[in-house]
């Protein structure tokens, strides 16, 4: 009897020791089975699932809500955790192998150009200044925040895209979608092209990184309200050029860079928030604060996101009214970059979760961004959505993962903007013919 008691006490002591030890060394219990981010992105280990990371407590297909969110808190951004606590429900989905996430020519360029990028100013060059980056991810293993941000900005897996239609839902704190704005976007990347010829840099556009048009398509009052913008290769050397068309006046006016801080037609998204981070880099200081596995929106949804006309499919479920779409989330490796504005800015800080090679989705290089106000209080959460695994021109050898939209939650007011984007990357577009002031005027009437 006494021996039994002693054994029980020893068992208890061992368990307690193990528990206390585990508090000091998180991950020690699973250390033998969970690979490091570095090994996963190097291709030495397979990417873990949420089941691996939670020791089987959360499995693929499970729902995560406010009742069990603590189990996955480690793999959420601060804003994601907050939205789940407020009612968002996440379905655990399935990650695709890296070669299914973006076109192979983009991956080939990344491999071909590996080790050749040098960072000068705010931009990467090929071996030396003046040689524009030819394409692919410039810094597959980023050493600092700016390199990680350059992977996003200069390592885009699309050369052009046409997004039409775009539906911006304005959702109030009660979850009511009380207003909808329609938009259309056209972007053409002039450098770092790997999918659509001409590859590398388009002749004549050596100084230009991308040209874009963004135009409102409804309601009637703002049809044609749009912007034509040029982003230069290094925004630190040449700041953006922008024009706006105001259909209420039939007037084309020059616009200032401050526009990046203003919101998109009154939504929760600023022009600089779009795509996770669109502000010119020269106005920010970046710091790589770490890299980790994180839950990101799934690359392939088991049900269609859009209907045949490109609007949100009725099969997509919502929680809390229309506030939180119930989407699939998978584990992906990310670089965590903290951005602090150097210029007078409406924000105090952004924490950007940048995709790590080779887990780079075609539609964007950023999964999510936490946005802080000038008092450093969490203000907004921005999450990019995918879920549409498609083939470029129907060719199964060229898989890609377009954007499906972006969710922006103002955590201080409860208001949110859900942006549904029928995104068509790598369509044939010409910077002369398809993105110019005349097109803006024509779309604006």
């Amino acid at each position: 009897m006494k021996a039994t008691k002693i054994i029980k006490r020893w068992n208890l002591a061992v368990v307690l020791f193990a528990f206390i030890f585990s508090l000091f060394l998180p991950g020690a219990l699973r250390g033998a089975t969970i690979p490091s981010v570095e090994d996963v992105v190097a291709g030495k280990e397979r990417i873990p699932t949420i089941e691996d990371l939670t020791g089987g407590k959360v499995k693929v297909g499970d729902l995560v809500d406010k009742n069990n969110v603590e189990l996955v808190k480690e793999y959420l951004t601060a804003a994601m955790y907050e939205t789940v606590k407020r009612g968002m429900v996440m379905r655990m989905g399935t990650q695709l192998p890296p070669d299914q996430l973006n076109p192979p020519s983009f991956g080939a360029a990344t491999v071909r150009n590996r080790g050749k990028a040098v960072l000068i100013g705010n931009a990467p060059y090929y071996e030396k200044e003046g040689n524009l980056w030819p394409g692919g991810i410039p810094f597959p293993v980023a050493k600092n925040g700016l390199e990680a941000m350059c992977n996003y900005h200069y390592g885009r897996a699309w050369d052009s895209y046409h997004t039409d239609p775009i539906d911006l839902w304005y959702v109030n704190a009660k979850g009511e979608n009380y207003k909808t704005i329609g938009q259309e976007h056209i972007y053409v990347k002039c450098s770092g092209r790997t999918v659509e010829p001409p590859f590398g840099t388009i002749p004549g556009y050596e100084n230009v990184y991308l040209k874009r048009i963004s135009v409102a398509t409804y309601p009637r009052e703002i049809v044609g309200l749009g912007q034509f913008t040029v982003r230069y290769y290094d925004p630190g050397k040449d700041y953006d050029t922008g024009f706006a068309y105001l259909p209420a006046f039939k007037r084309t006016i020059r616009i200032s860079a401050t526009t990046w801080q203003d919101n998109i037609v009154g939504s929760d998204i600023t022009y600089g928030d779009g795509d996770g981070f669109q502000d010119p880099f020269n106005g920010w200081n970046f710091k790589l604060t770490g890299r980790k596995f994180m839950l990101v929106n799934e690359p392939k949804s088991p049900t269609p996101i859009f209907d045949v006309k490109g609007h949100l499919s009725k099969t997509v479920q919502f929680d809390q009214g229309k506030k939180y779409p119930r989407l699939g989330w998978v584990i992906a490796p990310v670089d965590v970059v903290e951005g602090i504005p150097k210029i007078k800015h409406i924000y105090g800080k952004k924490v950007v979760y940048v995709m790590m090679w080779p887990y780079v989705f075609t539609g964007s290089g950023i999964h999510a961004t936490d946005i802080y106000d000038r008092q450093m209080k969490l203000w907004k959460g921005y999450f990019q959505m995918f879920g549409r695994h498609e083939y470029l021109n129907g060719d199964p050898k060229t898989p890609q993962t377009p954007l499906s939209g972006a969710l922006t939650y103002d955590l201080q007011t409860g208001h949110s903007t859900l942006m549904w984007m029928h995104h068509m990357p790598n369509v044939k577009l010409d910077p002369d013919k398809d993105v110019n002031l005349g097109i803006l005027l024509k779309k604006g009437r």
């Binding site: 004549g204 020059r254 860079a257 401050t258 002369d432 013919k433 005349g438």
Partner: protein
């Protein structure tokens, strides 16, 4: 006339029927894959707060009117888009004006006057003083890569300035119903004209001219169906002119086949964007020229003289931390028509003088609220008109006096503020114009948008100042008002 108005109640009948047809409509009505329609229903009411219009006093109005405007609009915009190359667009307006029916102090007047009876392809289906149905725009677009054509009745706007027309002079204006007081400035009163317009976007050079960006050439030709400015009819609350003295026997100068045309070259060098413009137009306002006779029957021709105009615009954006956009626009007319000061009232004669109109504007978006949501747009503009040899001309055929003299310079400062609030559901605005000769116009505004369809806006108009010569703000103080609009868009 008023009895007839209330008996027929055309506006009461037609608009609700049309409304019922669209009340369930979503943001855009798709009629098949290629045809869509959008538009709005609006009622606008302007309550008069100014003094009585002196131009109406002389034609018999006895009491100050209470209402300046009561108008219902049903506007549909039809788009036919069979493919990327060819598109057709039309704007159809159905308008009912109830102003004189609701205000017995107003004399009978034509709420839908035409500039002239004989020319101008207005595509107006009605000939009524209180009801109007017209196709205000109708054009087809042809898109051939870098080349684009637009053929039909259209608005062509090359100007960028606010509350001033410098380069935006191609289309005439319809001042007949609400002068220039609409918050959209010229958009609702600019009259579409028949024209062929073309634009060619020059491919980006890879050689010696690589520094030249976004280069384009644009031109238009109106084959000869032009319309002058439409003025308010005598008796209208906005009537701008006293009646023409009976001693004048006026004959309209025929210029149906006179062509208007123009072209512009635009592009960008670094951060400086610029255009060069040439316009061959006819004056939007008529000028009396003596032909024969004397009192009591003076034969005059109402002429619309030809004007050659040379214009340019420049804009530049100062980067952070200045963040200010500067826009300059100027237009030079070597032969701008005025009245010869030396000509007696019985024999008016046109004098042509050199005139330069130009303006410079500074735009800045600035976050002024403690919690930055939407930036306030702040625009400050200085515009100036320079007239050569102004001591030899006058603005009307009347005997020369200080009332029709023309200064060698006229200077106007404009301040425009616009602040969106609450996810753009609310907009506060202020337009303040100050003529340095001592006259001003203030237009504060409040707009509320409810959901996808409803818009409610209200504005005040205060015109004041000692400077009361024709066209100056002080001369328009009879138009002071508060006006509101309720709009349902679909």
């Amino acid at each position: 006339m008023k009895a007839k108005f209330w008996l027929t109640k055309k506006w009461l009948l037609v608009l609700p029927i049309l409304f019922l047809g669209v009340v369930e409509a979503k943001a855009e009505i798709k009629l098949g894959d290629t045809l869509s329609v959008t538009g709005y229903m609006r009622h606008e009411l302007a309550v008069h707060t100014g003094k009585m219009n002196p131009n109406n006093t002389v034609i018999g109005q006895k009491d100050n009117n209470t209402i300046n405007l009561s108008r219902s609009f049903f506007q549909t915009e039809w788009a036919y888009n069979p493919n990327e190359t060819f598109n057709v667009f039309s704007k159809v307006k159905v308008i009912s004006d109830q102003t004189q029916g609701l205000d017995s102090k107003l004399n009978d007047y034509d709420a839908f006057p035409l500039a002239t009876a004989r020319y101008g392809g207005y595509l107006r289906a009605t000939n009524d003083r209180e009801f109007d149905v017209e196709m205000s725009e109708l054009y087809a677009d042809l898109n051939l890569g870098n080349l684009w054509f637009r053929l039909g009745k259209q608005q062509i706007v090359w100007g960028e300035m606010v509350s001033a027309r410098i380069l935006d002079v191609i289309n005439p204006l319809d001042w007949s119903w609400h002068f220039q007081l609409e918050p959209e400035e010229f958009e609702n009163i600019r009259m579409a004209q028949w024209a062929l317009r073309g634009r060619y976007n020059v491919e980006q050079s890879t050689g010696a001219f690589e520094w030249l960006r976004d280069l384009y050439v644009e031109g238009f030709v109106n084959p000869g169906d032009i319309s002058p400015t439409v003025y308010p009819a005598p008796g209208s609350p906005f009537n701008l002119k006293p009646p023409v003295p009976g001693i004048f026997k006026v004959t309209e100068a025929e210029h149906r086949s006179d062509q208007e045309f123009g072209f512009r070259l635009g592009g960008r060098i670094g951060q400086i964007a610029a255009t060069l413009n040439y316009l061959h137009l006819y004056s939007d306002a008529g000028f009396f020229e003596w032909q024969s006779g004397g009192p009591p029957a003076i034969q005059v021709t109402d002429k619309y003289p030809r004007t050659e105009l040379y214009g340019a615009s420049l804009n530049y954006n100062f980067p952070n931390p200045i963040d200010v956009t500067v826009t300059y626009e100027g237009i030079y007319s070597p032969e701008e028509p005025y009245y010869d000061r030396a000509a007696p009232v019985t024999a008016p004669r046109i004098s042509y003088n050199r005139t330069l109109r130009h303006a410079i504007r500074f735009d800045r978006k600035t976050f002024v609220l403690p919690t930055p949501q939407s930036a306030m747009m702040i625009q400050i503009q200085y515009s100036q008109t320079l007239v050569s040899n102004s001591e030899s001309i006058k603005s009307t055929p009347s005997p020369f006096s200080s009332a029709n003299s023309i200064d060698s310079t006229q200077n106007v400062i404009a301040l425009i503020l616009s602040q969106d609030l609450w996810h753009n559901n609310i907009n506060l605005s202020l337009t303040a114009l100050y003529d340095l000769d001592g006259a001003s116009m203030l237009r504060p505004g409040f707009k509320y948008r409810s959901g996808d369809h409803w818009i409610y806006d209200i504005y005040g108009v205060i015109l004041a100042g000692e400077e009361g010569r024709p066209g100056r703000y002080g001369s328009l103080n009879f138009a002071d008002e508060i006006f509101g609009r309720i709009t349902y868009q679909f």
